[in-house]
Subunit: 220 residues, 2 copies
DNA sequence: TTTCGGATTTAAGGATTCTTTAAGAATTGG
DNA sequence: CCAATTCTTAAAGAATCCTTAAATCCGAAA
């Protein structure tokens, strides 16, 4: 799944925006026309379309309509001032936001951030190439989904939410197993191991989940 | 979340509209100026703003801009004929609809109903090759209609409306059966099975309705 | 360097949770 | 009122996950 699919035939402009967005850790693809946009969308999916209405061939209106047939992926319309006509008004009903060309890049970024926040980010927790989503209870490492069990997820979440802090074993155990649990802390270390197997580049030499001798663990 | 936030300094007019809207079962709040509108909006959120451009203090343009910074909540602009100028044109780009004062209350209600329908009341829900229609309570998989029972439909709808989210069994059961006796959750799992038989390509290895161990189910 | 306590690893049950099946109860429609 | 459909319940079988325990490894202090 691509974060942002930019549909724009002005390569220079697209590249510029693309750079800015990548700097903010979005994954971005560019399509220079409507056909390619749909192709990319169907193949990979996207979390947001930044759609210029004025395109060679299939125009923005058609792309928007096509997308809307099968999903409610957010669409941010980009259009030149001169194109303000009836068609545009109709289009806006189906779109999630609108910006006029030429636009200020900061405003564009703010709008995009806003859409993401409203639509997706409410339950996402990102750290490096790791992405936890509380809602779907999924963990992604880069583009790839990592399947974790219930306890593993809770443990990772607890660590990630306290990024940088050292959490002692007692605390971790109580947090996840509950204070009234009879089982031993031994089980915690086993879960830590399994997590490391899954999220560390080199589980033998963990960097994300560090052990703090005599105390507990730290997520970085 | 408020359904409709009316921003209007003419109290009489606001109350009138408010009454009509409440009669149609919308939840309504009134703000007599821009500051209060933003305050209410930030506090509670709203599904639609009915925004008079001519306000004491912060005007409609500013309110609209502020709202648009953080969301794409539909905005219905209300303005007197005499105010038609450039600024208004710019505003309309960010708005979803427009009505001139003095307006006919029925037309206003129709516009509001239209916005709600377009934006919120989609009665078709599409996901992949699956299509649910809330109105006719039918399910299509590709071209073919799948006959589902009442409970099955509700269950599928509930899952599909929360696509990607993990719904725990308690929640699902309460949502559909309306109570939460634990032993009876068995019945939920049975319905899940039947749904899978009907909508999954390979019911033995479900992909649409995924089980999340120790938690519940997730529709993807 | 040695020692010791803590940390890691491994694998095998044990426990829990999910799936499946089927029978009978409840509901609906003719 | 009967028949057909739908729903609930229960129980056995599967799948998955968790815990335990024992062996091993490692870091810090003497």
């Amino acid at each position: 799944m691509i974060d942002i699919l930019i549909v724009e035939d002005n390569k220079e402009l697209a590249d510029l925006l693309c750079d800015f967005l990548r700097a903010e850790n979005y994954t971005v693809s560019v399509a220079e026309n409507g056909e390619k946009a749909l192709q990319l969308y169907q193949r990979y999916g996207a979390r947001l379309l930044v759609l210029d209405v004025m395109l060679p061939g299939m125009d923005g209106f058609a792309v928007c309509a096509k997308i809307r047939e099968e999903s409610n992926t957010p669409i941010l319309i980009v259009s030149a001032k001169t194109e303000k006509d009836d068609k545009l008004a109709g289009l806006l009903a189906g779109a999630d936001d609108y910006i006029e060309k030429p636009y200020d890049i900061d405003i564009m970024l703010a709008k995009i951030a806003g859409i993401f926040k409203r639509r997706y980010a409410q339950d996402e927790l990102v750290s490096g190439d790791l992405r936890l989503n509380k809602e779907s209870r999924t963990v992604h490492k880069g583009e790839q989904e990592i399947s974790v069990t219930a306890k593993e997820f809770e443990l990772l979440l607890c660590l990630a939410e306290n990024q940088g802090k050292v959490l002692n074993k007692d605390y971790l155990f109580r947090e996840i197993w509950g204070s009234d649990s009879f089982s031993e802390q031994q089980t915690l270390t086993v879960h830590i191991k399994w997590l490391r197997e899954k999220i560390e580049d080199d589980p033998k030499h963990p960097t994300r989940i560090q052990t703090v001798w005599g105390v507990g663990y730290k997520f970085v």
